[in-house]
Symmetry: C2
Subunit: 354 residues, 2 copies
């Protein structure tokens, strides 16, 4: 059976402003010193398992040109442009319908476009196990990340008995408070929900039919029109009818036969500027320095220069990012407030900076 991949690349990602912009979100940025963008890494990471013509990128129409530019090896017809964002459930239903039209049944690896993985061989082996589990039956498989600390920013997967090379999922739980997160961590029965899924077209299609019939019906029409001159029109019409829903809430939390494979491959969701020092080398004073920077007596800073010199003196635990039209100087304790800056720019109609 064909092994295909669906890479979800519709995110707007405000958390890396000012480097990320609405017109150029995180998945199209390079946040590591090797210059590769997040989505380029995502694609090259799965190349041991999936060939380029079987990789499908679902993104917003406004980002289609970036995908084509950054991923020249992916056939342009595989770049599936959403007319509007409707969260992950419609996105996956759309891709499923297209893959069904092309190949009938197939294995689908459904992956975010903006995460990092440190140990790619372990990642590949984990996906292999997931593929096996997904082909054994109409199972839905989610990759769970073995937690390394009590993170309160992720959802968790509570798993039960082992079955083959996977574990039965008991339930999905929302972002916990710290106390609960610590309980989860020590129990050894919880994994981070990474949003990576593996299943057959037939398996996920069946779930959509029963759990999200409108989305199923719309996606069917889109799939049937794929490759015809009706496609654009149908896509536009059907997509706008979809209501926003995540696949986690719409399908996973309501389905039977959900399995998880625990992965320990150095996963990082690169959630905000704090991630940069985690995913890159830092100097003796734990500073991460990029570009034309002079530091004097600085510690634990993250400094990304643009076209100009940045000189930093005597500062600690601060993030500095320079771009052509905006400079960010942010305490590491306040990275979540970058969104507030964007909100204020929006209030003042300074869209050129968003």
């Amino acid at each position: 059976m064909k092994i295909t991949a669906v890479i979800m690349a519709g995110g707007k990602g405000e958390r890396f402003w000012p480097k990320s912009r609405e017109s150029h979100p995180k998945q199209f940025l390079s946040l590591t010193d090797d210059g590769e963008t997040m989505i380029q890494k995502t694609v090259s990471r799965i190349s041991p398992l999936v060939q380029a013509e079987d990789i499908f990128i679902v993104t917003n129409a406004c980002y289609k040109h970036l995908v084509i530019e950054q991923l020249p090896d992916i056939p342009q017809e595989n770049v599936l442009a959403e007319p509007c964002g409707r969260n992950t459930a419609p996105c996956i239903a759309f891709a499923t319908a297209v893959i069904k039209k092309k190949y009938g049944n197939a294995v689908m690896l459904v992956l975010p476009s903006d995460h990092l993985i440190k140990y790619e061989n372990i990642y590949t082996r984990t996906l292999c196990n997931a593929i096996v589990t997904a082909t054994e039956d109409n199972n839905l498989v989610t990759i769970g990340i073995t937690p390394t600390y009590p993170e309160t920013g992720y959802g968790y997967i509570n798993f039960g008995e082992e079955s083959g090379n996977a574990y039965k999922v008991e339930r999905f739980v929302e972002k916990p408070d710290l106390r609960t997160a610590k309980k989860y961590l020590s129990s050894g029965k919880y994994l981070w929900n990474s949003g990576m899924f593996v299943w057959q077209v037939s398996a996920i299609e069946e779930r959509f039919r029963t759990l999200m019939p409108e989305v199923f019906a719309g996606a069917e029409k889109i799939g049937q029109s794929f490759g015809t001159e009706r496609f654009e029109k149908t896509l536009e019409t059907e997509y706008n009818k979809f209501s926003s829903e995540s696949v986690d809430f719409g399908i996973m939390e309501k389905s039977e036969n959900i399995y998880t494979i625990p992965g320990s491959f150095g996963w990082d969701d690169v959630g905000n500027w704090l991630a940069i020092e985690r995913i890159n080398e830092t100097d003796d004073n734990q500073n991460y320095i990029e570009g034309d920077v002079i530091t004097e007596n600085c510690r634990r800073t993250t400094i990304c220069a643009g076209k100009r010199l940045i000189s930093a003196i005597g500062i600690e635990d601060i993030i500095i990012v320079d771009t052509d039209d905006a400079v960010l100087v942010c305490s590491k304790n306040n990275t979540q407030d970058v969104k507030k800056i964007i909100a204020r720019l929006r209030e003042n109609n300074r869209t050129e900076l968003i």
Copy 2:
């Protein structure tokens, strides 16, 4: 007797980098929100006492165009361009010789070009008293600032008995340590040495003749050539022969009949970036904000935007300065280290940034 002013504007002022550059030092910058430059303020401040054609600006040849541009009312022949910097003694001897050539004897107010004064009426009255004291006899008068805290960065003037509207200077003392500075402050017998002087041409000339004969001789030649075609040539030759010396060390500390007038007119030498919050209005969180800036949860910051937006989040006691080619982010505890950045730029021959 004519009242003239000599404004010393030869300083390079590295401490306001990146806003100040070798080609555009502090005295030619506006560091207050009214947009007036330091030297423009210095000139308008003395206009109640001295008319424009009697104001002489001594500066380095490379800054002559800035003086002419910023002070159009000053006759261009009054802009005295030093071929090279030789500290204040040769600078004053040069100006003295020129004023002597023009007016014979006269009163000279000798003033730095890059200080701020808050209470200009008190300042004017203080200078008036100094003028009276200087004309009574061949006295040298220095304006002392009544100290308001135990500053260790200034030299002090120890004064003795009152005489007329001035006090006899006992001695000049170097920058003290904190303990000594506290003693000075509580004694009530010490003033800050502001580097502002008042005397007659005849009085300072006499001191140069006896205490710095080479400088006197060279300045004489320069003065005699002033207004002739020999001037440029003579100036070049004689000035290069001068050795660098401050008027404090070369004259004041060695002379008799030195008087001081205590001044309490809100003097600020605007020594480094820390001064900006002192000399400008700050907001409710004690931030000083200039230009296109968005702050979230910041306290006691000084932020000067250039052509770009600066957004600052969750930071305290930090100075941020943006220019076209360099950004400075500096802890308020490390403003003296701005010089280190310039030193490192010099090491790397990055003169375009200095």
